[in-house]
């Protein structure tokens, strides 16, 4: 597959490689974006939710009289209401079950307990305050280790025969060979790591307008969802028994103010709003406020890992072993492909030629909200890469080896691709040494090490951290990947109009990734129709072809491929039409962007626009009119973007504050559709890597009370905390993707945290520090400085 860095098309056509200004921007810069909370329908009512202050409690009584007495409050919905329709529980994406509204007990603080329906938002809020609930607190389980001890209170008493809090055990790799390798190893390092709960905190929270039309028996839900078709099918399956039928359900995902995985799951609020709309027969709007969002949905991570690396004295890695305890909250509602309860964690062998590996994981129930797969994690790749990149640095420290040198020594080499990893992945393409070398050259690594040595003499704390990650995106091939049984293909449907313009619809759903521009650029690349003349649509299940949505950086690898294939099908038909128009055989024609011409007689040609017109006015006899194609793309493999990041930090010895002085990110996502958009994704991803590394954390006390449940304490970095990101790229095309492209949206969130941790540890390694848990708050760092006697 050739690498494309210089665009082949003109600026007018604007195909791949052009930094086309985004086609969606004109509405956003005018404040004319169309988000869920902007929707106003006639007769629309507002819903607000009563939430539990307790993490684990029996519900003794819910009294609604005071609420119902407030003028404008129309109804209060409880678990008992929904139980009548058997809607009080629903399946999760991992085939567990979770409550929509509780009947017997609540299982996490801020759990939905009742819903108030009112004529306006303000009255609904008053209604919520007026609902009275009597609780009997129960023993709370927040520590997943304690949850798995014999004698721990059993949380899921709703599951018949369940006698513990263990959800599942998962393992992959060769346990015996790994044990043997560790037993025989010259060097072994081991490191415990905890990746705390964090929250996507997209600036738009979650919400919906559920609009049931009783006359037609038709439900439309305008919803903050990254996966509208999957939602439609889930609703049809879950609520089929109350009369909702898939052809009469329409999910519309309008403009979404950031998803990051937090808008994939089906939250109770959506289901209650739908139920309310069906029962009342009016549109119901539910939009959560920020504290509800932070406390009840969209969380990510919460992995307790122990990573071990076996190696030879010269630094050659021989085996990897990782054991993890996953805290899933009270239900496994993680949005993973169904065969992967731990997502794609088995990418944990990383960028290294590790011949032997084994990893196992257990998941536990606790009194916390359900979830886990979000925050640009690529299905747990953030956790996996944190483990391997941290333990690699621990090994480097143990061997007193430069971390770059250790990585070069162990990288999978370019000539080893496609590379079969010890845990079963076939990496498509990569050049890991190239990326790391470029990062080192760009940032001046050698000079920085000199500077560090000088500063150390003066007692100044400066660190340099490296992360060389391999990502795994584009779920995924149908033999392995499905969500609730629905295979993870994705789709594109392209139709060319008589005047040569086009409309293209997809099964994905952008929440800011620029699909209206990038997909148009693919069509432009393949057909020569200017991207500005290709209208792109996503998100309306009535019109878009079926797809699994946008998350885990899958859109370019799946729908992007489908787009290219569909366009090529159109080109095939266009060739036939051109042959007919030019009265030659197809074999006499050659294609250059935007037209077919006769070989040897280039003046005899037909543009795609002429061909399109002919498709409706002069198509060949025996051929259908029209010029369109659909493709449902089943990717043959995932794609493996990669990169090397280098971070430079300075530590304030008085306060423990970590300042990121420089950050160089070299990324490789194969062939690039729009460099400007890719850079934007990297900038955003880096910022969502900085945040968990230094600032963000959601935690719980012994009673299950949340800490970090508002923006007061959940510290989303501002422009002042965020450094100026420096980016560069290498281009190693994907051999199996029609465009040679890979996904990229989450690479930076995967690669940045280990680079920053490695830098801070590096700043303190001469004092014997080996590891620091994230977030590396000033207090945490200062405690270390104090312990080591170097605090100011």
């Amino acid at each position: 597959m050739e690498s494309s860095t210089t665009p082949r098309t003109s600026a007018t056509v604007c195909g791949m490689g052009h930094s086309m200004k985004r086609k969606e921007d004109p509405r956003f810069i005018r404040g004319q974006g169309h988000y869920v909370d902007d929707i106003k329908l006639p007769g629309m009512l507002h819903m607000d939710i009563v939430r539990s202050p307790y993490a684990h409690a029996k519900i003794l009584a819910i009294r609604t009289e005071k609420a119902l007495a407030i003028p404008g409050v129309l109804a209060v919905i409880t678990g008992e209401t929904l139980k009548q329709y058997n809607l009080h529980w629903m399946p999760t994406l991992m085939s567990d079950t979770q409550m929509v509204l509780p009947v017997e007990k609540v299982m996490y603080q801020a759990q939905e307990v009742a819903a108030v329906i009112a004529t306006d938002r303000y009255i609904a809020a008053d209604g919520v305050e007026a609902v009275e609930v009597d609780y009997e607190p129960l023993e709370v389980v927040v520590d997943p280790f304690k949850a798995l001890l014999p004698g721990a209170p059993v949380l899921r008493t709703d599951k018949e025969g369940k006698t513990d809090n263990h959800i599942w055990h998962w393992e992959t790799g060769d346990r015996a060979a790994t044990e043997k390798a560790f037993a025989e190893a010259e060097v072994v390092v081991k490191q415990d790591m905890y990746i705390p709960r964090i929250h996507v905190a997209s600036i738009e929270t979650c919400g919906c307008v559920a609009d049931f039309d009783p006359a037609m028996g038709h439900l439309t839900v305008h919803m903050t969802t990254q996966a509208p078709h999957a939602i439609r099918t889930v609703f049809a399956l879950v609520a089929g028994h109350v009369g909702l039928s898939e052809e009469k359900i329409r999910i519309i995902s309008p403009d979404i103010g950031g998803g990051f995985g937090g808008k994939v799951p089906v939250y109770p609020g959506y289901v209650i709003a739908v139920a309310a709309s069906v029962v009342i027969g009016k549109p119901i709007k539910w939009v959560e406020d920020r504290m509800e969002n932070l406390q009840a949905d969209s969380f990510a991570r919460d992995y307790h890992m122990t990573a071990e690396l076996a190696a030879k004295k010269d630094g050659t890695m021989t085996a990897l072993r990782i054991k993890t305890l996953a805290d899933h909250g009270y239900a496994d509602a993680a949005a993973n492909p169904s065969k992967f309860p731990a997502g794609l964690f088995s990418i944990c062998t990383g960028s290294y030629n590790l011949p032997i590996a084994f990893t196992e994981m257990d998941a536990a129930y606790t009194n916390k909200p359900p979830g886990g797969v979000a925050y640009r994690c690529s299905f747990r790749v953030t956790e996996a890469v944190h483990a391997i990149e941290r333990v690699t640095d621990v090994l480097a420290q143990e061997l007193k080896m430069d971390p770059a040198e250790l990585r070069f020594k162990n990288f999978i080499q370019p000539d080893q691709f496609p590379y079969k990893s010890a845990l079963g992945w076939e990496y498509d393409s990569g050049n890991y040494p190239g990326a790391l070398q470029k990062a080192m050259d760009n940032i001046g690594y050698v000079e920085l090490r000199k500077e560090q040595a000088e500063k150390r003499q003066r007692g100044e704390l400066m660190g340099i951290g490296i992360c060389s990650f391999t990502e795994i995106v584009g779920a995924g091939p149908s033999k392995d990947f499905d969500i609730l049984g629905i295979k993870m293909f994705d789709s594109a449907e392209i139709r060319i109009h008589p005047t040569g313009k086009a409309i293209a619809r997809f099964g994905t759903k952008s929440q800011g990734q620029g699909h209206e521009t990038t997909y148009a650029q693919i069509v432009a690349e393949e057909l020569g129709i200017p991207a500005s003349q290709v209208q792109v649509e996503e998100g309306d299940t009535d019109t878009a072809p079926y797809g699994l949505g946008t998350y885990a950086s899958r859109s370019t690898p799946t729908s992007g491929a489908a787009c290219a294939i569909a366009a090529r099908k159109i080109r095939d038909k266009a060739k036939k039409i051109a042959a007919h128009l030019l009265e030659v055989s197809e074999d006499d024609l050659e294609w250059e962007v935007g037209k077919f011409s006769v070989k040897g007689a280039p003046q005899k040609s037909k543009t795609i626009q002429e061909i399109a017109f002919a498709a409706y006015t002069n198509h060949p006899p025996g051929m259908e009119a029209g010029l369109e194609a659909v493709n449902y793309y089943d990717p043959p493999n995932l794609t493996f973007p990669f990169g090397s990041y280098i971070c430079v930090v300075d530590i304030d010895r008085g306060t423990g504050e970590v300042k990121v002085r420089r950050f160089m990110a070299v990324d490789d996502c194969g062939n690039i559709i729009n460099p400007m958009i890719v850079d934007g994704q990297i900038h955003g991803g880096l910022s969502m890597g900085l945040a968990p590394a230094l600032f963000e954390e959601i935690s719980y006390d012994e009673q299950g009370n949340i800490s970090g449940g508002s923006f007061m304490d959940y510290l989303v970095p501002t422009s002042m905390e965020t450094p100026n990101w420096e980016t560069d790229k290498t281009v190693t095309p994907c051999p199996h993707h029609p465009l040679g492209a890979k996904g990229v949206g989450e690479s930076a969130t995967v690669g940045a945290p280990p680079a920053i941790v490695n830098a801070v540890v590096d700043a303190l390694s001469h004092l014997g520090v080996r590891h620091i848990e994230i977030p590396m708050t000033p207090e945490k760092v200062w405690n270390i400085l104090r312990e080591k006697g170097v605090a100011e």
């Binding site: 200004k21 985004r22 005018r30 404040g31 303000y122 738009e204 103010g257 900038h683 991803g685």
Partner: protein, 166 residues
């Protein structure tokens, strides 16, 4: 609890209404006036998605009562474009990819617009400080800064042109 009659000049036009005391300015704009360009992103006055100009100053409209704005002037993102022409700050965001999901964008635009009204050549630090009350999750702020610099350069060039190119 009595309602109040208010008259607020929004983007140059007087808008009258009868409102509850507790109605927040952001809801007045979004619901009473159906001007949904101004967004809500939090409940603790942190995110800045609700930023509008109140008598020319950028403020968080979620933390202002509509009644407080009675008799005063409000400018929202809908007021940036004039006579069908985008304001340089809007064009700057477009040219420099200063937005992705677009949700924080109106707030960023209003804050940046206000900055450029009194500081025509802001440094990177000054831009970062000015937008430090506006959270963005998508862009990492890098291109937002470039967008503001783009607009500043354009406005500066326009002014120089007007002055006769000296």
């Amino acid at each position: 609890m009595a309602d109040h009659n208010i008259n607020i000049k929004v983007n140059g036009t007087e808008r009258k209404a009868q409102v509850e005391s507790r109605l927040l300015l952001v809801y007045f704009l979004r619901e009473n006036l159906s001007m949904t360009g101004t967004h809500i992103g939090c409940d603790t006055t942190h995110c800045g998605a609700c930023t509008v100009l109140l008598d020319g100053q950028p403020v968080k409209s979620c933390t202002v009562l509509a009644v407080q704005a009675d008799g005063r002037e409000v400018m929202t993102v809908e007021g940036l474009e004039t006579g069908g022409q985008l304001h340089p700050i809007q064009n700057g965001f477009w040219q420099e990819h200063g937005l992705q999901c677009g949700y924080c964008t109106p707030g960023m635009l209003m804050t940046s617009y206000a900055l450029l009204q009194h500081n025509t050549e802001p440094s990177e630090l000054e831009i970062r400080q000015a937008i430090s009350g506006n959270l963005c999750r998508c862009t990492g702020y890098v291109n937002i800064i470039k967008s503001v610099q783009h607009a500043a350069a354009k406005m500066h060039a326009d002014q120089t042109e007007v002055k006769g190119g000296v």
